[in-house]
Symmetry: C3
Amino acid sequence: MEDKKKISIVCFSGDFDKAIAVFTIASGAAAVGYEVNLFFTFWGFNIIKKKKGRSFVGKGILARVFNFLMGGFKNLPLSRLNFGGISPKLMTYMMKKRNVATLNELIQASIDLGVNFYACEMSMIILGTKLTDFIPQIKEVLGVAKFLEIARGGEIIFIS
Amino acid sequence: MEDKKKISIVCFSGDFDKAIAVFTIASGAAAVGYEVNLFFTFWGFNIIKKKKGRSFVGKGILARVFNFLMGGFKNLPLSRLNFGGISPKLMTYMMKKRNVATLNELIQASIDLGVNFYACEMSMIILGTKLTDFIPQIKEVLGVAKFLEIARGGEIIFIS
Amino acid sequence: MEDKKKISIVCFSGDFDKAIAVFTIASGAAAVGYEVNLFFTFWGFNIIKKKKGRSFVGKGILARVFNFLMGGFKNLPLSRLNFGGISPKLMTYMMKKRNVATLNELIQASIDLGVNFYACEMSMIILGTKLTDFIPQIKEVLGVAKFLEIARGGEIIFIS
């Protein structure tokens, strides 16, 4: 009678603090038996790009420049109080000191707990990104219709 | 037995990239048979104002100044990397080059597919905006209670 | 047969305009019989801290500095157009002039209507915040699993 325990998160943001929120919810939900689907789009690609630093990926010079400016995993900014990149380092330091899982550990936990990772087709076309630019956990490339089908019957949250 | 296929999106943001996300989901969902309800509020008014540029709409001098500063459809900023307005133009250029629908085309597709457009009553009161300031697709002005009633039984996402 | 009328809001943001959105939805939903659960996390702590101004709360010097820089209720910025703190004052002024409830009044209405306030355990650990740093309406400190259990069967929205 009850809906399946399922939560699907659209990861639009590439901010460090919001990425922590995404993977805290993802790993926490998976740990208590939820099916968890992460759908990365646009700025969220910075979280799942294979190259951790800035890189000129993408087809076409404008896409490459845009991707370079977007940054990568090592350059995820804080949504506020970024201080030229010091804050994410400071936050990671505080997380380690308190024995709270860091972003990398939360991502690894999510992978280990079977969270599904998907990438947004349209963002890939706009940015000229290829599936091989992403970490291997990216299971599939999806459009809106397929995403809604996967998310159906569960919760959807959008992290912008 | 199943819930009706319905998705309701609160469009709080007036960012160009987030507006693309809103109308990509809206048109994609409508195309596969979803009832789609868009509820524009606060900064999201910039997407649905009739006057495309900056304008002094609203009742009272402060509301007018605030509305002017908020901008309009032509001034939707990117949520990051705005470069003084160059990036939305660059993104539109890349979308055209890749044969992906632009924001204007996504909005038109949403209208053609029967997506419902609503405006938030309280934001209109605060900003002194009138129904005639909006594009004619705005169907109705709603408070929270009416919005929840319309959205009930489907998904709700909030784009901030 | 129908789901219980329930909405749960994750308040990740500490922006003034988004806080107004949170409490407009919360009080509006509670007024028409919804169970409303607010889950404050990270920047959202600025909305529920007892000390209204900037303060060095938290355990450890880095946490204290971080909390000071985060600000407090009196320093909630606007997500755009902040003009050094003038805009939230301007918005409050416009809200009063139009006889719309101000943020403080919306919070009080939410409390009076029985909205539940929760704080995020992990954010408290990272930031070294104690339950006594918050306003007394904070009912309980929750992790992700408990939050999902409370939110289950209703809508979840995430305000980032």
